[in-house]
């Protein structure tokens, strides 16, 4: 993470700061709407963390890029109805996938660091602590009688039992396996 040591001027040509801040909040509202016990991203202030973390990660110009990308996709969002907002954000995602991905990920991480959101997780029946290291979680101890494996499977080759295997048919000096991994 590059932490900027000086304040840079806002790049010219972007929206004014008030409009830009509102625009970022509107974007967060589309990404993380409120529903049931879940507060919206906007209501827990994700946009403030998003702005700060974009600044820290990429510099101030990145904030203007986000605003510009939303506008290029049909924004600003403020004057649009719900369906149109979603359509604009979808276009942003399609046209600027890397930038959008960064915004989305920062928004998600920031959202789930919020105490009210942690409360919502607990409301689902999951014990979830934003700072679990302090008290830990109540995980039952290993029970030797219950948890020890009884399958008896597994083997190893002792040192003096290592034998030569025949690799002549494997053709490992080739470079044949070019199609590998998930693209096969």
């Amino acid at each position: 993470m590059e932490i900027e040591m000086r304040s840079e001027p806002m790049p010219k040509g972007g929206a004014g700061p008030a409009a830009a801040a509102d625009g970022l909040a509107d974007l967060v509202e589309v990404l993380l709407p409120g529903e049931g016990v879940w507060p919206s991203g906007k209501s827990v202030g994700v946009q403030a963390f998003l702005a700060l973390r974009l600044l820290q990660e990429r510099g101030r110009a990145e904030l203007a890029r986000v605003t510009a990308a939303v506008i290029a996709a049909g924004g600003p969002l403020a004057s649009l109805d719900a369906a149109a907002r979603i359509a604009v954000v979808r276009r942003f995602e399609a046209e600027e996938p890397a930038l959008f991905g960064l915004v989305r990920d920062i928004a998600y991480v920031s959202y789930y660091e919020n105490p009210f959101v942690a409360e919502a997780i607990n409301a689902q029946g999951h014990p979830y602590d934003l700072r679990p290291h302090i008290k830990g979680y109540p995980v039952p101890r290993f029970d030797l009688a219950r948890d020890t494996p009884r399958h008896g499977r597994g083997r190893y080759v002792p040192t003096d039992a290592v034998r030569r295997v025949d690799v002549s048919a494997l053709d490992l000096t080739s470079d044949a396996t070019q199609s590998w991994g998930l693209k096969r």
Binding site: M1, E2, V30, L31, L32, G36, Q56, E57, I86, R104, D105, Y108, V109, S110, Y111, Y112, E113, P115, I121, Q124, G125, H126, P127, Y128, L130, R131, P132, H133, K135, G136, Y137, P138, V139, P140, R141, F142, R146, D147, T148, P149, G154, R155, Y156, V157, P158, T159, V162, R164, V165, D166, V167, A169, L170, L172, D175, T177, W180, G181, L182, K183
Partner: protein
């Protein structure tokens, strides 16, 4: 330049192996100085106590040296790998996960087995007592009696909790008829050696409680109590040699004052990790008559999966590793490749934000109105699995010096190149297919795989393991050190970090690196007079 009085033993690097060597040698009454370019990492410095620890571990506490830009670090240019490294007291144990499995006997005999890797100059039996000694010093947990491994002593503390994720995985492996065993960990399950047992918080990237063995908390107090003099912010620029070809000490810069100093020593130990050590040797132009320094970089073959099951398993709780699967750990050429691999099965991420923003496979929650339903379905239901295998050495996979990039003190940066070979690629295909088998056996409602290849097809492994770059051997023309970690070229120079591993095994290497460091330090202790007098105390 300041000229410090000569010491008996100079150790370069205060990470895991430097601290172990210092403990052994200082306890023997030797005058030990350790130079560390980084600083102490206090418990309160870690992000674990902050509500934004998720963000911090992706940024300023990222285990990748190139993603956090810490002033203690030096640049590592890589065309492939993400580089796990922490420069400071305790080294990378400040950010590691401490899964603690051992090598197996055949790992030391790959030359006999197929000849595509060298035999080690030592056997499993040579290192086994030092595994036990290291476990007692470091504090580990686990369950003895695994039929897939040689017999071992009981771990100092019993196994960590058998989580619901572990239970679900065990059922799946049973269904497949595959081996599994509770994971061994460099984490204490109960209070031990003045440190508290694991509290199951799940933030297993270092541990400021000290339940996970952070060596600045578990080993360094012992080394300091025994009289080791540790100098932090002391970046070594060069190891000097005399006209007799022996190491005379090291030139270093005090990063606080900018002044250079020379620390003379009778024996010099390098403990600067699989990247830092070859970088230092190459910059010093020593110990490289074989041209093997920096070559044969091993990362392990690594592919991974995530799966999500209907059963709520609260997989954000508890130590991050759950079970280890050793079904495929030995060579079986009918699979189409040599060597084996194991499954390092995890629980889930302890961070809700990572469930949504991506964890092992970088799977993302949808945005918009589907987000919360997706999160409710996935949080507390996920399990991660790494398949980790023994990659074949390639002399072109290597650490070199960057021709232009330097660190803050003008020292050339390390440059890494790594690409998996034919055998490695075949193995990873097989591993991916087996990960699918596990997901199916678990009845997962969803699973995702990752091969760590980017959009251009380049394998960008999260190289948690950087080993093999100053390998141990029996032949001075194909190895850098002998079976006692002693340089072939410079008889009073020893290398005790992961760069000496001749093969990678199928496991996380820190237990083996630690055991080897203890063994080498014991050898230096027992032969110090001969080594200091100028002789080559070659018991091996």
């Amino acid at each position: 330049m300041t000229q410090n009085a000569d010491c008996d033993v100079l150790i370069i690097g205060a990470g895991a192996t430097g601290s172990l060597a210092a403990t052994v040698l200082a306890r023997a009454g030797l005058d030990v100085v350790c130079l560390e370019q980084g600083s102490w990492v206090e418990a309160g410095d870690h992000p674990h106590y902050s509500g934004d620890w998720t963000w911090q571990r992706r940024t300023n506490w990222n285990s990748d040296v190139n993603k956090r830009h810490h002033p203690d670090d030096y640049p590592v240019e890589s065309d492939s790998s993400q580089v796990l490294m922490w420069n400071g007291v305790g080294g990378s144990t400040n950010v590691y996960g401490a899964i603690w499995p051992r090598y197996r006997p055949s790992d030391f005999r790959k030359g006999d087995e197929h000849g595509l890797q060298p035999n080690w100059p030592i056997s499993y039996e040579d290192i086994a007592p030092f595994y036990e000694a290291a476990d007692r010093l470091i504090g580990t947990s686990g369950l003895a009696g695994d039929p897939a491994m040689p017999p071992r002593e009981a771990c100092p503390t019993g196994p960590l909790p058998f989580t619901r994720a572990a239970g679900r995985l065990a059922q799946s492996f049973d269904k497949l008829g595959w081996h599994w065993w509770p994971a061994e960990a460099g984490v204490i399950s109960e209070n031990y050696d003045g440190r508290p047992g694991c509290n199951g918080c799940g933030i297993c990237n270092g541990c400021p409680r000290g339940s996970m063995s952070k060596f600045s908390m578990s080993i360094w107090p012992k080394a300091l109590a025994a009289g080791t003099r540790l100098r932090t912010h002391a970046r070594v620029l060069k190891i000097e040699t005399g006209r007799d070809g022996r190491a005379s000490g090291a030139l270093y810069v005090d990063r606080n004052t900018g002044r250079t100093a020379f620390q003379g020593a009778r024996v010099v130990i390098v403990a600067a990790n699989g990247v830092g050590t070859p970088r230092l040797l190459l910059n010093s132009r020593i110990a490289n008559s074989s041209d093997q320094v920096g070559r044969n970089l091993l990362h392990h073959t690594l592919v991974s999966s995530e799966m999500w099951v209907d059963e709520p398993i609260e997989s954000h709780m508890g130590y991050v590793a759950s079970v280890i699967g050793r079904e495929f750990a030995e060579t079986d050429v009918s699979r189409g490749f040599v060597n084996g691999f194991q499954f390092n099965c995890l629980t889930g991420t302890s961070a809700a934000g990572e469930v949504a923003a991506g964890w092992v496979t970088n799977t993302k929650a949808p945005w918009g109105h589907d987000h919360h339903a997706w999160f409710e379905r996935h949080f507390g239901h996920g399990i991660g699995i790494h398949a980790i295998g023994d990659d074949l050495p390639n002399p072109d996979n290597r650490v070199t010096l960057d021709p232009t990039l330097t660190d803050a003190d003008g020292l050339p940066a390390a440059k890494l190149h790594y690409a998996p070979g034919e055998n490695d690629r075949r193995m990873m295909n097989f591993m991916l297919d087996r990960l699918v088998d596990i997901a199916k056996a678990a009845g997962a409602f969803e699973h995702k795989l990752t091969d760590y290849r980017d959009e251009d097809g380049i394998y960008r492994t999260p190289a948690w393991h950087m080993i093999g770059t100053c390998r141990m051997g029996t032949d001075p023309t194909t190895s850098v050190v002998n079976g006692w970690n002693q340089s072939w070229d410079v008889p009073n120079l020893f290398i005790v970090d992961g760069s000496v591993l001749a093969t990678g095994g199928v496991v996380n290497p820190t237990p083996t690196i630690s055991a080897l460091a203890l063994r080498a330090a014991t050898y230096i202790r027992d032969n110090f007079k001969a080594l200091a007098a100028g002789g080559r105390a070659m018991a091996a």
